[in-house]
């Protein structure tokens, strides 16, 4: 568990959200959230990433106030929020199924939180227009919700969540149901709007690409526990444990024992770098990203690689801008995944072809062997 | 049981109560008619429409069971309300169908409507008519489209508990504020219109021309929030302690009393409505069924049947020389002297038939207001 704080310190920005030792126990066996602790500075975009059932949505719902933590405290804007009802929190939320009001027009949907929060009625139309403009829906104000496309509905939901200028914007996987093209468009849209308004935002998703694209910071959760909190680059380069390495990016895993210079796998020495101190001889697990493994014809140029091994291509997948090779390494009795770019210049290696594979010691990250 | 003509079947023997009546039946029906080769085929059963509760019990004991015992014809009692069977019979006769019942036990007023409409069989040839009082003959109709079978009185029934100083002497007791919400009348006010005319200061001779006195009195009664219902309602209301005073047929009050409710009844000084019920046969029955239906009515006005049936009802029959039930000797609801009869109010059936629906709607108008 490494609940490290974000790498870059933005001094002077007060903390927007703090969670301290938050547990959620629904009484159904395993706890939904275990001892969650993190803090988020004002104006930043945080994504909580994890597989389904990891507790990410529960954590978000506790921040929104829909659920009360079994133990622990959540502070919003420095004040404990536990006793504050959802409708009294300054939190805007975009829901997974959007939860727009079908009996109201676009305009009425966006005006709803303003009316509920007793804004000056004379201000409301102007504000609604401003936010519809922000989400690029000017001119749609009189439409019925059912008459909008999926993307337009997304925009209404965002405007509705932001129009009352909440301290905090929460996104509960609102993009999950969209097709890929629209999803990617909306990801950028979220990012643009968040940067434009500077509103502190917490997003929940299981889509690692979305997390990397939109966030200033990422928290990875698994089985109710926070695995790591870091910036997207930091998270990608320095995963705190094999789970994070597995969940973000494409990695191959090698199981063996720690040596002075790396890892011995099936009697073969593999150069690598330990993330934590591990005494030599202890069981350890190495992870290496597919794009960090190089592939060449047997005896080809793998200069600079600390470890070079021979193997056979067992499969290759063409992904457009790159090829993904599966190469069987008999010495390690395992298969590694390799991204190979620039396929246009070179005919792909055929299935069954013998190839050389190599990597740099700094790219094989060695973790203590755990239960996973 | 010494009569050689009578061969009781096993079923009849089991029916203890019926046995005595059966013997009586044999006495009244000429043996030749029961045995004659030319007697029409017996139907398996005949259907008699009747009122439920103590009413049908009395009919069964006094008439139906002995009839079955003597003839082997089963009697089924159809407890459809008299008001509901009427349109069904009318429709059947109009469409030339076989009517749903063989005999209708009906109020004389209702029966007269059917007679006027021409849906009743003539019963003038019943042999036992010779032995009946003038009460059996329907007034203002030709022949006997109906045979009246007994008379009854719409008494003022009361709970003695509520009248420690003795029976109420006037219908005006209904207006006593302490009985507000605790008095009951029939739904359509039947039985109450005429005493109301007297109690309201009007004259019986003015009926139907001028009944303002009755309507004024009924309007006063309305202020007392009366319950309105049918015969079974009255029994239930008395039993459940819902009411203290009611204008109802004495039979209902007597039934409640038999069931342990402390209840008494009286004919107040203004008088009380006397009316009759009767039996009639709808047109359209097959020949043989008509024959046996007539035999049933003929038996119903025999002295023995009348004695048991009317005892059960607690009402005076249409055969002279009946013995009143012990509990009703000298009771005003069982008029058996000319003086007692003179105290009761009798209005001609014709007047009633022609004006009843108007009276009912006037009563409704007051009560539903």
């Amino acid at each position: 568990m490494s609940g490290g704080s974000s790498a870059e310190s933005t001094a002077g920005n007060p903390v927007a959200v703090v969670a301290q030792g938050v547990d959620m126990d629904f009484g159904t066996g395993a706890m939904a959230v275990k001892n969650a602790a993190f803090s988020l500075e004002r104006g930043r975009f945080l994504t909580i990433l994890g597989p389904s059932g990891s507790g990410k949505t529960t954590l978000l719902r506790m921040i929104a106030g829909f659920q009360t933590p079994t133990r622990g405290t959540i502070l919003i804007g420095g004040r404990p929020a536990d006793a504050v009802a959802p409708h009294r929190r300054s939190v805007g939320m975009v829901f997974q199924k959007l939860a727009l009001f079908p009996h109201m027009t676009v305009e009425e949907n966006v005006a709803f939180p303003l009316k509920m929060r007793r804004f000056n009625p004379r201000e409301i139309p102007e504000r609604v227009a401003h936010y519809l403009d922000l989400v690029r829906l000017a001119g749609f104000s009189k439409r019925r919700i059912n008459a909008l496309s999926g993307g337009q509905q997304q925009r209404v939901a965002i405007a509705r969540a932001l129009v009352f200028e909440p301290e905090l914007l929460l996104l509960d996987e609102p993009l999950a149901a969209l097709d890929r093209k629209l999803r990617e468009e909306m990801q950028l849209e979220f990012r643009r709007i968040q940067k434009e308004l500077g509103v502190t935002t917490i997003n929940v998703t299981h889509d690692q690409r979305e997390a990397l694209v939109v966030s200033d910071e990422i928290i990875v959760m698994d089985q109710g526990e926070i695995q790591q909190q870091a910036s997207p680059v930091g998270m990608y380069r320095r995963p705190a444990n094999p789970f994070v390495a597995h969940f973000i990016g494409v990695s191959s895993f090698l199981t063996g024992r720690r040596t002075g210079t790396g890892l011995t796998v099936n009697g073969t020495e593999c150069a690598g770098q330990a993330v934590d101190d591990i005494a030599p001889g202890l069981a350890a697990q190495g992870a290496i990203r597919a794009e960090q493994v190089r592939i060449a014809a047997p005896g080809g140029d793998l200069s600079g690689c600390d470890t070079v091994l021979e193997g056979q291509v067992s499969d290759s997948i063409f992904e457009g801008e790159r090829l993904l090779y599966f190469v069987r390494l008999p010495a390690l009795e395992t298969t590694v995944q390799i991204y190979h770019h620039d396929p246009a210049e070179q005919a792909p290696y055929a299935r069954g072809a013998t190839v050389s594979v190599g990597w740099n010691a700094r790219d094989l990250l060695i973790f203590p062997a755990k239960d996973r | 049981m010494s009569n050689p003509v009578y061969r009781p079947n096993r079923r009849a023997l089991l029916r203890g109560t019926a046995a005595a009546g059966a013997a009586a039946l044999i006495g009244t029906l000429p043996a030749r008619r029961l045995m004659a080769q030319d007697a029409p085929a017996k139907p398996a059963e005949i259907i008699v429409r009747a009122w439920g509760g103590s009413w049908v019990d009395a009919l069964k004991k006094g008439v139906s069971d002995p009839f079955t015992a003597a003839t082997g014809i089963q009697v089924r009692h159809d407890l459809t309300e008299d008001n509901e069977i009427q349109p069904k019979v009318w429709a059947a006769v109009a469409q030339g169908r076989v009517p749903p019942i063989h005999i209708n036990w009906d109020t004389t007023t209702n029966a007269t409507k059917s007679a006027l409409r021409g849906v009743t069989e003539d019963l003038s040839d019943l042999s036992n008519l010779a032995n009946t009082t003038e009460l059996a003959k329907p007034v203002g109709l030709d022949g006997y489209p109906i045979v009246n079978t007994y008379g009854y009185v719409y008494v003022l029934a009361y709970r003695p508990e509520a009248f420690p100083d003795g029976a109420p002497t006037s219908w005006k007791a209904l207006l006593d504020p302490k009985f507000k919400g605790r008095i009951a009348l029939y739904n359509d006010g039947i039985g109450f219109h005429f005493p109301a005319q007297v109690a309201g200061g009007g004259k019986l001779e003015d009926i139907p021309g001028n009944m303002q006195a009755a309507w004024d009195f009924i309007a006063q009664v309305k202020q007392q929030q009366p319950l309105l219902g049918e015969d079974p309602d009255f029994t239930a209301w008395f039993q459940n302690g819902e009411i203290d005073l009611a204008c109802t047929i004495s039979t209902n009050a007597r039934e409640a009393k038999k069931n342990g409710v402390d209840l008494a009844w009286t004919v107040p000084e203004e008088g009380a409505k006397f009316d009759t019920d009767g039996l009639w046969i709808p047109k359209g029955l097959p020949e043989n069924e008509l024959y046996w239906a007539k035999e049933y009515i003929n038996f119903a006005i025999s002295k023995d049947a009348q004695q048991v049936w009317c005892d059960g009802l607690g009402l005076p029959g249409v055969v002279p020389g009946l013995t009143p039930p012990e509990d009703l000797v000298g009771d005003p609801s069982y008029p058996d002297t000319p003086e007692e009869m003179a105290h009761l109010i009798r209005i001609s059936t014709k007047v009633q038939v022609e004006n009843e629906s108007e009276w009912f709607s006037k009563f409704k108008e007051i009560m539903q207001g």
């Binding site: 939180p113 509920m116 | 302690g241 629906s357 709607s361």
Partner: protein, 315 residues
């Protein structure tokens, strides 16, 4: 795939179905298949047709006046019965009681049914939902008359309620045979209908929509007023129409719990048919009830739409 053994036979039920299909093909050839839909709704059309014939007969009867000398309807047609009905203060009173009662019962029933239906839809524990369903359906299976009779016993002067009141020193009071008792009985009778018609409408409202409204700043009453009720409107209209029409035409409850002085139109019609044998006036009243009910329902359709009764025919 291994070949089935040569003596393999399809099960008897399959072969029977084949036979039925062949028979159906002969009786109703494929070429007729575009008319199959009509075939299935023919019974319904026949039933409605019979109903219309009945209405025509009633219409005919309503134009004939009863002659109390012969107790036969008149040969010629006239509007006398209608005039009589409209001129009578009794029928005006009864009609007003039925209409206002139907409105009151509808409103009360919807107010009570809404939380019940909401609980049915939202409650998470299966056993609570089952208990709610049983509580709802048990009285549903007991007929109206029996239930009304039950109220006579429970609410009577010496009934359970008055017994309980006497324990706390309250003198027995008349709970039955008044307008309140009739309204109570009708609401109790209509409740399951309303709940059953509301449940689909409420099921269609995602729970997330309520959560969303809460997070946007709406308190509970405001969620109810601004989100739940408007979104449940189709169900409320559907349930309201059914309850209204059933109440407007009810007979048993006013007859039994009204103590005779709380007649509804149906009771007045009954009286004409069965008590005074005036089928003409009864028919006229019946047709006027049909007309009044249709007009009111039509008005609701026009103003609010048909709700769930539109069956998706109109958006």
């Amino acid at each position: 795939m291994p070949n089935p053994s040569p003596d393999f036979r399809y099960p008897l039920r399959w072969r029977l179905m084949d036979g039925v299909e062949r028979l159906a093909d002969t009786l109703w050839p494929r070429s007729m298949s575009r008319h199959t839909g009509w075939l299935f709704i023919t019974p319904a059309i026949l039933l409605v047709g019979l109903l219309v014939l009945g209405l025509i007969q009633i219409g005919d009867a309503s134009l004939r006046v009863l002659d109390t000398a012969t107790f036969l309807p008149s040969e010629d047609w006239s509007l006398t019965n209608y005039r009589k009905a409209l001129a009578s203060s009794t029928y005006l009173t009864v009609a007003w009681r039925s209409l206002s009662g139907a409105v009151l019962v509808t409103v009360l029933t919807l107010i009570l049914a809404f939380p019940y239906a909401y609980a049915l839809v939202r409650v998470r524990k299966a056993w609570i939902r089952k208990a709610l369903l049983i509580t709802l359906f048990l009285p549903f299976f007991i007929g109206q008359v029996v239930r009304a009779y039950g109220w006579l016993i429970i609410l009577g002067n010496s009934g359970m309620v008055n017994e309980a009141l006497s324990l706390v020193g309250v003198a027995p009071m008349r709970l039955l045979f008044n307008y309140g008792a009739v309204v109570f009985g009708l609401v109790q009778y209509m409740l399951p209908f309303a709940v059953l018609l509301l449940v689909p409408a409420l099921t269609a409202i995602p729970e997330e929509t309520e959560t969303a409204a809460g997070s946007l700043g709406a308190s509970w009453p405001r969620i109810l007023w601004h989100v739940l009720l408007p979104m449940a409107k189709p169900g409320l209209i559907g349930a309201g129409l059914v309850v209204f029409t059933l109440t407007l035409t009810d007979f048993a409850v006013p007859a039994m719990l009204g103590g005779g002085s709380q007649d509804y139109i149906a009771n007045a019609i009954y009286d004409q048919f069965f008590r005074t044998a005036d089928q003409g006036l009864g028919s006229a009243l019946a047709l006027m009830l049909v007309a009044a009910g249709s007009v009111l329902v039509g008005l609701v359709f026009m103003v609010f739409g048909a709700g769930t009764l539109a069956m998706g025919g109109r958006k």
